[in-house]
Point group: C3
Chain length 280, copies 3
Amino acid sequence: VSPLVSWEGFPILMPTFEDCPIAITTDFGADSAYVGVMRGVILSINPKATIVDHTHSVPSYDVLAGAVLLRQSYHYFPSSIHLVVIDPGVGSSRRPLLLITEKYAFVGPDNGLFTPICESEKPWVIELNQERFFRSPVSRTFHGRDIFAPVAAHLSLGVAPETLGRQIVDMVTLEIPTPRVVEGSVAGTILRVDKFGNLVTNMTPATLGEARISRDDLVMRIGDQVVQKWVESYAEADPGVAIILLGSSGLLEISVNQGSAAELLRASAYEAVFAYRKPG
Amino acid sequence: VSPLVSWEGFPILMPTFEDCPIAITTDFGADSAYVGVMRGVILSINPKATIVDHTHSVPSYDVLAGAVLLRQSYHYFPSSIHLVVIDPGVGSSRRPLLLITEKYAFVGPDNGLFTPICESEKPWVIELNQERFFRSPVSRTFHGRDIFAPVAAHLSLGVAPETLGRQIVDMVTLEIPTPRVVEGSVAGTILRVDKFGNLVTNMTPATLGEARISRDDLVMRIGDQVVQKWVESYAEADPGVAIILLGSSGLLEISVNQGSAAELLRASAYEAVFAYRKPG
Amino acid sequence: VSPLVSWEGFPILMPTFEDCPIAITTDFGADSAYVGVMRGVILSINPKATIVDHTHSVPSYDVLAGAVLLRQSYHYFPSSIHLVVIDPGVGSSRRPLLLITEKYAFVGPDNGLFTPICESEKPWVIELNQERFFRSPVSRTFHGRDIFAPVAAHLSLGVAPETLGRQIVDMVTLEIPTPRVVEGSVAGTILRVDKFGNLVTNMTPATLGEARISRDDLVMRIGDQVVQKWVESYAEADPGVAIILLGSSGLLEISVNQGSAAELLRASAYEAVFAYRKPG
């Protein structure tokens, strides 16, 4: 941890991230040469950097999906630098950001990606404006390569976060869909569909508790498709039948054992999903 | 190597895996945030772990495909910890396993994945039951994150395998398709289709020897499609024509130079494939 | 750097690549067990090797696409060993190669992959013929595993490049499409389509300068589809509308903000693209 700083109102110890792994999240696809180039840029600045892929399967341009995936995963990493590039606004006036919490640094565009981080933590938010830490020249189309990867690499060398920019208080935020609850009924959203076709909702066991719906009474509906079997694990369900269970990220999921709920129910991300009590 | 142990019948030197790379095999897809989270969990326990991807392209839920790919690849790695998660039975009573050979540790579910390892090696088989080496709480849906990745990470720190569980002798096994041979004829199976559309069979040159079929006389049939040209390398074949050759894993393959045999012959994994002598 | 050598006409200091990262480029797909096996082979030879993925999304068998991607990316890496396997001629008489520049080593097949490297640099070109640095036996179908990965690993251990083979002067080259320019008009080619559906052409701002076409007057045509809006960044364009901009690799791209130009214009790699002045 760096010495006490008194810089633009930063009142206390600002952590540093020397030797911390750089975890990359993008919408580029795992195969992408764009990710490869970012890895090269990082190693050019810090040859000893530990680079680790979080995921590159965020749907193209889908900032909300990136925000949701980051929220679900970031805390499984040790003290890390999360390099996050879902950036449809690259080259516009949207600002490049650095968020600092006690354990993590987040580097990426100011487009709402970090909204959930600000709900679960109280980060310092810094606008990156020190061009000496960027590649030169900075392109108008690939700040992952020219700004974000270089800044992440410099952080992993131990550069103090407060030297990278200026504190801001007006970070762009995104509306993250939250379930609306009334007694006996919840109106929620499918947050994402994973590779297995599991439909990850934005409801938790607490949501059901608030709505006073027990697992035994639970019915979920997507469009005209109804699912009403709660199980504790995929294997409890008969293959091919849609069920509801508590997924690994603490959210309720609609799944099909050894099949795809997305296909069976013809459902996709951001569709509405309703929970209510079994009638009768 | 750890000192001589005399634990539940382990009679001899039990190897340890300090500083060995952790090679990951899953059916999650390379892009998957699930793999990213497993990487984060490993680094949280052992920040110096070497994490290396074997493959994440095992078809969803296909334990047999995982077993086959693992058999074909594991020995190309140096002394390693193979972390293998193809786990449709997660959360059920299926046991979490650790297999130990002189050179390798295998961590994964007790669902048959490790059948071929027990054919080529004589591993100790350990049921993982020491919860202090798991994440807490353990979810019912993601043991890759909560049990297998943490155990692999602890092994890479040098934790002695015998402290992780108890020896068992009733590991679940899977029937791995083997070719049936009679004089002049073999009934085999397509084990897998690779990214290039190559059809990897379960026959070897020894299989043909046993059936007394020479390469010059060889004919293979899948459904009503017949292939009868043996070549030594893809490049010997005319583009677009199906041929038979010895693949890199020592198995006979049906391939198309610069094309896809799977598409041309409309064939897929687990279909029957027959070999016999050219008539006349 | 190794001492002065005088070997088959190598007149000056030959660099070595001890501890340099090994950056892998293939057409195997990111998920591929073939890449996993190459990683295992590298770690078997050099357990401390830094392995970094450039990209595995080169279209199957497409040597030209591999050459183009490598040219666009290789220089973003620090001093590195580029291990490049797009190899439809594996097992034929095509030679295995090592190219050495001041900063980089390139290992891969002699099929034209390295043509652009020889345009931008003046590498030593070495035919790999020292079998003691290969795996044994060498298969006829997977030199990535048996020749190229082992040689890359040995280079990362500090083996002197000049001990790995003999200098040659007749490397296979490939015709890389270059734009044909006349006053007011350019006939070019779409070099590749990225994951976002951006169409990367082989034209640069200098090409337009040569043809005396200003950005304001620029029209591009693919088949019967015409695009005539120049923007500085994706975000300047209305979503869904095709635009032209300067891509991150210094080439002109046709793109759709938050959409796919490839889909909108039904265009694909290697199609002709024309640039000319807006009439009137």
